[in-house]
Symmetry: C2
Subunit: 237 residues, 2 copies
Amino acid sequence: MRYELYYWPDIQGRGEFIRLALEEAGADYADVARGRGGTAALTKLLEGSSSARPPFAPPMLKAGKLVIAQTANILLYLGQRHRLAPAGEAGRLWANQLQLTIADFLVEIHDTHHPISSSLYYEDQRGEAARRAGFFLKERAPKFLGYFERAVAGNGGKFLAGAKLSYPDLSLFQIVAGMRYAFPRAMARFEKNLPRVKELHDAVAARPRIKAYLASKRRIPFNRQGIFRNYPELDAR
Amino acid sequence: MRYELYYWPDIQGRGEFIRLALEEAGADYADVARGRGGTAALTKLLEGSSSARPPFAPPMLKAGKLVIAQTANILLYLGQRHRLAPAGEAGRLWANQLQLTIADFLVEIHDTHHPISSSLYYEDQRGEAARRAGFFLKERAPKFLGYFERAVAGNGGKFLAGAKLSYPDLSLFQIVAGMRYAFPRAMARFEKNLPRVKELHDAVAARPRIKAYLASKRRIPFNRQGIFRNYPELDAR
């Protein structure tokens, strides 16, 4: 079966968490919106009022007859199918729990540059963004990152869930990469207290399929349209 | 098995989505933090560094040896166990997808009064809150609510997922109740276009176990410490 991923073509965004899982799984997939006529296909799937189970927003994954939306939900599905999640119920719930905490963190990362509205430009909410980013770097980012450090430690020091790689590890890699891009000065300081998270990031980056993916054109570079944005004025001094 | 729910004792908050599912299931549970010494027990479970699978934040549900966190994850677990979710995989994924979209909506509802930081009082972010709430009521709330109206319609007009009640229905009931409390003027206008969502709300409220729960002291009233807050200056004019 060839999967079809539907996500905005010019940003990593939430789609990247799906791409990383598909790549690590060696799955056959089309990144539909990045192909010819792809954005129209995405819009059609998103607005298709005929669907009995409409998606609210991308990413969406077509898997045969299924159309699945919500990042953590897609990963729940892929994780079981491609051995990217623990086999038992307790482990699967733990992986899902971690992924939902990553999702919460991601919303707070996004809202540092868009604290008022996603429909406004950053430039129209700069003052509020500076204020929110200050609290984010002082309180929230260290709390989330410290939590993942403890979670890796509690699981034996190498992975987040079980004795081998699972999809939240891939997502945590992406969080570290994104935080380094968006907040390089703050992240350098945080990482002094995150030895296990750093090692996990490096171990994911070195996996053959992920390494090949990151070096390919399939990996969209970080940019200022995505969730992680580098605005030096929002970073630590 | 007696469940133990751990959530802040003075607000409905995210814990309410779990309470509604436990109540509808007729499950045996303790609302631990509302009992004597309960907040200390909650703090202990939350900060228990000994745990190999630490929770990031309440709500947490103890189910035998399992400690499950993240609202949608707890509901995924309870839904399967108590026939509050569709039986098949496609239906279960759909229920989870809906619940995650409700979770996204809830974050945006919360951030109308706390757009800068949860560690500040509302009074210290009133200007930003007014600005964010304006966009929320103009763009986001109608988008989310309209989506759920379409989802109920697409599923036959009575429930969100399948031919009978499932946990996202209980959560959508709570969203409607909360929106009516927090934004009574705006919500009255929205509801003119939400006939099916209104009917679903009423049908949930009339279910015998939910009706008894809502009339009991186990149901904490809405208040200005929770996620849904009534600040008339943030509502529509």
